[in-house]
């Protein structure tokens, strides 16, 4: 398979330079939907949904805590999938070369992986913060060396490392492939985090929703629907932020290449003037 080179970089860079925002009509519409959905979610979570018989009002944190980790899982799985695509598109037999990635698809998947991992880290941090607040109310302490808490922190640190690796200066192909391998190893931790409450004696409660066929629900009624709605809302918000991050990553790449192109053009002009 022959790699398709990016279209004229200078042209793209000029386009990028003329863009001061990452928004488009579609993302603005998505943004409005996301903000409205968050408003409705606040209404559902804070007023309409009843307090829990045991946990009282602290159960309302669940509407942020649980959907955030679901979205974070989704982000990490997407990172792994996009990374597999990067490795596939840049494999040696596909005409891969050293240096900059020429294949447009590979570059896109690399940006998807980066944006999805950032979202995963952001939403994992939100999960840890809300979980910690919930722990203070319920357990009387912000932190417990509980299996799920510990494995979630490890997941968080793993992907912080992944983002650190992505930021190291390197040729784009080497960086993308190296990060892709790490994403594929890191995703192994996901099932361990998820099933830690079943595998270890733990303070953390069992999963709120059992998605297996015939599985029991630990919550019902308004709480159940509010939780599902919150998950949908968080997914829309994540999608909105993710698209913007993807475009920021693309603009960064284009700006980087544009500055190189400009320097080269300047050098050529100087040489021409010197003759």
């Amino acid at each position: 398979m022959i790699e398709t080179p990016e279209p004229d970089l200078r042209q793209q860079a000029q386009r990028a330079g003329s863009l001061s925002m990452t928004g488009s009509v579609a993302t603005r519409a998505l943004g409005v939907v996301a903000i409205a959905a968050v408003g409705v979610m606040a209404l559902l979570a804070l007023w309409i949904s009843p307090p829990d018989a045991v946990q009282g009002d602290s159960v309302r944190l669940m509407y942020v805590h649980v959907p955030s980790i679901w979205v974070a899982y989704g982000g990490f799985v997407l990172t792994a999938f996009a990374s597999a695509r990067v490795l596939w598109r840049t494999r040696s037999g596909a005409g891969g070369t050293y240096g900059v990635i020429a294949d447009r698809q590979a570059r896109r998947w690399d940006r998807v992986a980066g944006a999805a991992a950032e979202l995963g880290v952001l939403f994992t941090a939100l999960t840890l913060v809300t979980g910690s607040l919930w722990g203070k109310v319920t357990w009387g302490t912000y932190w417990q060396w509980d299996a799920r808490l510990t494995t979630t922190v490890l997941l968080f640190v793993t992907y912080l490392g992944y983002l650190a690796l992505r930021r190291l200066p390197a040729e784009s192909r080497a960086r993308a492939r190296r990060s892709a391998v790490m994403a594929l190893i890191a995703v192994v931790n996901l099932p361990i985090v998820h099933y830690s409450v079943d595998w270890w004696r733990t303070l953390h409660q069992e999963a709120s929703l059992n998605l297996e066929p015939g599985g029991d629900r630990n919550i019902t009624g308004e709480m159940y629907w509010t939780l599902l709605y919150s998950w949908a809302t968080f997914t829309v918000v994540a999608l909105w932020i993710g698209i913007h991050r993807y475009r920021v990553l693309r603009l960064e790449e284009l700006a980087e290449e544009a500055s190189l192109e400009e320097l080269l053009a300047q050098r050529r002009d100087e040489q021409a003037a010197g003759r």
Binding site: L87, T90, R91, S92, G96, Y98, T151, L154, L155, V157, T158, L160, G161, Y162, A164, L165, L168, A170, E171, R173, A174, R177, R178, A180, V181, M182, L184, I185, A186, V188, N189, I192
Partner: protein, 222 residues
């Protein structure tokens, strides 16, 4: 392929035999970690005994980080990786050869650490077979993971600081499952020791699969 793997593994082991870095530096560091834990826990024998399984794996994980770093330091100098590839060796053979050599060195480190547990923490082993099988699975998993991350960070200016940050969290499944299996083998837990060993084996197989897929991408760009 097997012959190439053996060649790389033998090369690393010969270098280790001549330099004796594992024996002179990594093994003492791991034993030192066990001693320092005793300071940290105020040499409380009951606490040390209860946590012996976990402390063993933490100490060996530190050893694995050092071993992985060392394994690629010897290749970074003078562009040895390029030389190996120019010599016609397949990237997968280089990676698996290095992983095999690191695994053997970690088995040595683990043996010393286990002796350290017996002597320093006065633990009693109830299931030797479980210790051996879980230990070998864990060492192999650490070695593969360490080699992958060593290859990932080789030649980077911040490799020294980045490698532990990347390797320790990713190796956590091995640490957790290994600890549980050892707790059972040492009689400090009534859990299902072999189930945890099976989980270790699953993680090991996953790392092997990722290693096969990743060898080319990592070493072509290293």
């Amino acid at each position: 392929m097997w012959r190439e793997i053996w060649l790389v593994c033998r090369k690393d082991l010969i270098i280790e035999w001549r330099a004796r870095v594992t024996l002179i530096q990594i093994v003492p560091t791991v034993l030192l970690v066990l001693v320092v834990f005793a300071f940290a826990l105020d040499a409380n024998p009951s606490l040390l005994g209860e946590g012996a399984g976990g402390l063993f794996w933490v100490a060996v994980l530190f050893g694995a980080v050092l071993g992985a770093k060392r394994s690629f330091d010897i290749e970074a100098e003078g562009g040895n990786l390029d030389a190996l590839r120019l010599g016609g060796l397949a990237p997968a053979a280089i990676l698996w050869g290095k992983a095999a050599a690191l695994a053997l060195q970690l088995v040595l480190v683990g043996a010393f650490a286990a002796a350290g547990l017996l002597v320093l923490y006065s633990v009693t082993v109830h299931e030797w077979l479980l210790i051996v099988v879980a230990g070998l699975c864990g060492m192999a998993a650490f070695a593969i993971c360490g080699t992958l991350y060593g290859a990932m960070t080789v030649g980077l200016r911040s490799a020294d600081t980045l490698l532990p940050l990347l390797l320790i969290p990713v190796a956590a499944p091995v640490l957790l499952a290994g600890t549980r299996a050892f707790d059972v083998a040492l009689g400090t837990s009534a859990d299902q020791g072999w189930s945890w060993t099976a989980l270790l084996a699953v993680v090991l197989v996953t790392y092997i699969a990722v290693g096969w897929a990743a060898a080319g991408p990592l070493l072509e760009d290293a």
